[in-house]
Amino acid sequence: MSASTASTIVSYTGKKLGSLRSERRWALWTAYASLIVATIIFLAPPFYMLVTSLKSSSEISNLSGNPWIVRAPTLENYMELIANPLFRGFFVNSVIITLCVVAISMVISVLAAFSLARMKFWGSQALATGVFLTYLVPDTLLFIPLYQIVGSLGLLNSIWGLILIYPTLTVPFCTWIMIGYFASIPKELDEAALIDGAGWMQMLTKIFIPVALPGIIAATIFAFTVSWAAFVYPTAFVTTPEHMPLTIGVVSQLIRGDTFAWGQIMAGALMAALPPVVVYAFLMDYYIAGLTAGATKG
């Protein structure tokens, strides 16, 4: 690490120019070597999943030869899954749940953030702290009482139960980062809007939301990825396959002890992981902005 930091630090401690240059070159080499090793390790599992998903069952079960390469690539696993109504059902469930949860989360958190960041009322400071603390509550702390509550509402084994509960995962953080984005809008801007004749709602829709659009996008991405990847709640609340979203569906339904379904499992996992990865690929900067805005779960 010392060598690497030296690359930006110009050291004047009596060293010859040549050694300084070689020191810097070394630092750069170390950096690239570390990054290459890390990238290989980080990308190996998804790569291996892809390789497996392209193999036929017989090639997977063949123990001779390199498992990391595919000799006779086939889309068979993907085709079978797409043709499988159960898998398509998982997908549809995930899409419905995610769309609803994102919409609910954004409405609740944008309204609340605007009110907490700008309007202030009795107890608003405490509420802001409460929002943050709620964010720190992990889903595994409350899933048992929530199981009872969802059960008493008759929403077990239903996507509506999940749509009701998921906002507890998304809203606190979305509100938190929207408070941050709204608070960074100069106060003069709402004063100008006030003088221009805007009411509170107009101020929110015509000024705050457009100006804080990067924040809105970041929060939307967050809500999307969280509700797409949620695992504890669907595992606990849904046991009937036709109501499962993708995550638990792939994990619990594609694994069958007797037949050799690894290719299909990997294909299913990859297809299920695709939407967040695509969103990430296109909106990486917003994704990262949202991630670093409030220090997310890690």
Binding site: F42, Y48, L127, L136, V171, F231, A295
Partner: protein, 313 residues
């Protein structure tokens, strides 16, 4: 023009009081609107976080059939069982081990990334963040397959270097290691991205000033980088401790608690006891054991965030 600006301190009381009411009404109206806007949030937090938390405490005092209150009975039974002590130990090993590894790897990678030319950073960052983007339940499936006893592709690689095959999920300590490994793989990119953001916020002039003051690379790191990042490092570590401590996905998919409940953590054990074995009160009690630990972490995070906000003001 009587504009000499002679002062009259204190408002004329008579004129003021009548008006103060309308002004107050105006202010009250504004905070009413604000309160209404925050109401859905309050309902959500109250109904689906605060109420369940209270409900969990009540639930944990009931017997299995939820017909009688047995006070702290569930907690006593848990503390008497060897399995539960194993769960406590495993949760701590898992959380502490994984967070330390994630923090170190994340810090190292952030540094490496920070020191390559800015042009290439985006590309590398994009690739290195991928483990974080894939829903962990799904990527863990891939790991599970890589750890498969007879088809392990990792063991195949190890065999090339003449290393004997490793019983990844079969043997307790290896299983523990595997669970941590997957969590580290999944969580390191997050640390990296947080640290990278923090590194970028340290002004270059500080390093230049330190270099002119005669600091070596190490000293620059020790006396400039670390102090400047101290707050974000501690917030990130505490955050990660909470989430890792309460992790469920990876254990569920990779080992499902096995072999012989040796890799159970609080969350997976609570699930096992509460949902799968149908003893909801005791499951709730298991979850509640996490509460004091999480509360302490949360307190320190809040303190760190407040301090950071104050510094930025």
């Amino acid at each position: 023009m009587a504009a000499d600006g002679t002062l009259v301190a204190g408002a004329p009381a008579a004129a003021g009081s009548g008006r103060a009411n309308t002004m107050q009404r105006f202010a009250r109206r504004r905070s009413t609107i604000a309160f209404l806007m925050a109401l859905p949030l309050i309902a959500l937090i109250g109904g689906l976080v605060v109420y369940p938390a209270g409900y969990a405490m009540w639930l944990s005092t009931l017997n299995r059939r939820m017909t009688a209150n047995i006070g702290l009975g569930n907690f006593e039974i848990l503390l008497d069982s060897d399995t539960f002590w194993m769960v406590i130990m495993q949760s701590c090993i898992f959380a502490v081990g994984a967070v330390i590894a994630k923090a170190l790897i994340g810090f190292w990678l952030a540094h490496m990334l920070h020191h390559i030319p800015a042009k290439g950073q985006r590309k590398w960052r994009g690739m290195l963040l991928i483990p974080w983007v894939i829903p962990p339940a799904l990527s863990t499936l891939g790991w599970w397959w890589m750890f498969d006893p007879s088809y392990s592709s990792i063991n195949w690689l190890l065999n090339i270097f003449a290393v004997p095959a490793v019983p990844w999920l079969g043997e307790p300590w290896w299983a523990r290691f595997s669970v941590i490994l997957v969590n580290v793989w999944y969580g390191s990119p997050f640390f990296m991205i947080m640290y990278l953001a923090a590194l970028k916020s340290v002004p270059d002039q500080l390093y230049e000033a330190a270099a002119i003051d005669g600091a070596t690379g190490w000293q620059g790191l020790r006396y400039v980088t670390l102090p400047m990042m101290q707050n974000i490092i501690s917030i990130t570590v505490l955050f990660s401790l909470i989430v890792t401590f309460a992790n469920y996905d990876i254990v569920r998919v990779l080992t499902n608690g096995g072999p012989r409940d040796l890799t159970q953590v609080f969350a997976s054990y609570a699930f096992q006891v509460g949902i799968l074995s149908g003893n909801l009160p005791r499951g709730a009690a298991v979850s509640l054991f996490m509460f004091p630990v999480l509360a302490v972490f949360a307190y320190f995070i809040l303190r760190g965030i407040n301090r950071r906000n104050k510094e930025q003001m």
